[in-house]
């Protein structure tokens, strides 16, 4: 049996920004009462992190928690640890009304880095990506060109973008096009 593969199979492109397939990533959608102590404890137990504030991300050692909506978190972990994390969540939340589901393969993750990262995304997303407005730790679910997408910014200035698996080629193509040399806008130097 061969290994699991991402739809982009490691593709990368270097232009105004570097666009790279971030590889397999474990992703768990957790829906529940985010204010409850049970959910808080379950998340802590599963990925060792707290509940992020609205539209924020918290990241730890190989894990992260993204605030997706008032009753939804996205938990990130190693691809092959998902089953174990879900089991942990289910155990911790037994008797509660919640949903924890593996969505690792439903989505793909792209890494966008370099000085042109903000402008590259700003060509495709109707979001204020100026450094003053979009700061590390923020998560934004939005539209990227013609697909829904979510991205967040880590402390080192790298954007991680999540989109549906089936449109991975489109997402990569659109980002690559936006990052073509010669297309510097020059506003987020």
């Amino acid at each position: 049996m061969s290994e699991a593969v991402t739809p982009l199979n490691g593709a990368d492109f270097e232009g105004l920004a570097t666009i790279k397939d971030a590889g397999l990533s474990g992703m768990i959608t957790l829906r529940g009462d985010l204010a409850s102590k049970e959910v808080k404890a379950a998340v802590k137990k599963a990925v060792g992190l707290g509940i992020p504030l609205q539209r924020q991300a918290l990241s730890g050692q190989g894990t992260a928690v993204l605030w997706m909506s008032p009753d939804e978190l996205l938990l990130l972990c190693a691809y092959d640890e998902v089953a174990q994390k879900i089991a942990a969540l289910e155990k911790a939340l037994e008797g509660q009304h919640f949903l924890a589901v593996n969505v690792s393969d439903a989505r793909t993750v792209l890494r966008i880095s370099g000085t042109g990262a903000r402008e590259t995304l700003a060509k495709l997303c109707p979001v204020d990506l100026s450094p003053g407005a979009f700061t590390p730790g923020m998560v934004r679910r939005t539209r990227m060109a013609q697909i829904p997408a979510a991205f967040w910014l880590d402390d080192s200035g790298v954007f991680y973008l999540i989109c549906f698996r089936s449109v991975a080629d489109y997402a990569f193509g659109a980002l690559k096009d936006a990052a073509l040399p010669g297309g510097e806008v020059g506003v987020y130097g």
Binding site: Q54, R55, M68, S69, P70, E72, P126, V127, R140, R141, T142, R143, P148
Partner: protein
């Protein structure tokens, strides 16, 4: 291109992040209801020249539905609030009254 503020996730985004879902505060009529009630629920729209309560979903965003009070002539937004609301909050009604005295909407005004 409208700009909307989602009361569920706090994002102020452009219309392309959202999807409009028709009149809000509709009372559903199911089996056994009268023809008139069902017709009113399904088809007889308020469609006013003025304040309009409408449902929107932040579909390219947090995925939540919410309600927006918007003027169909000036496009002024009087406010947004979660979908789990039976009637518009008072501050929004007041904002409408200030601009559209005497406005009406189905069972409340």
């Amino acid at each position: 291109m409208l700009i909307l503020t989602c009361p569920c996730c706090g994002v102020t985004g452009e219309e392309t992040e959202f999807h409009q879902g028709g009149e809000a505060h509709l009372k559903r009529f199911g089996p056994g209801s009268s023809d008139d009630d069902f017709h009113t629920y399904m088809f007889a729209k308020e469609n006013p020249k003025g304040a309009h309560f409408e449902r929107w979903r932040h579909n390219n965003g947090c995925g939540k539905w919410f309600i927006m009070a918007r003027d169909t002539v000036t496009l002024e937004v009087y406010g947004t609030y979660p979908a789990q609301t039976h009637e518009p909050p008072k501050n929004i009604r007041d904002a409408i009254t200030a601009k559209r005295p005497g406005w009406t909407w189905r069972d409340f005004a």
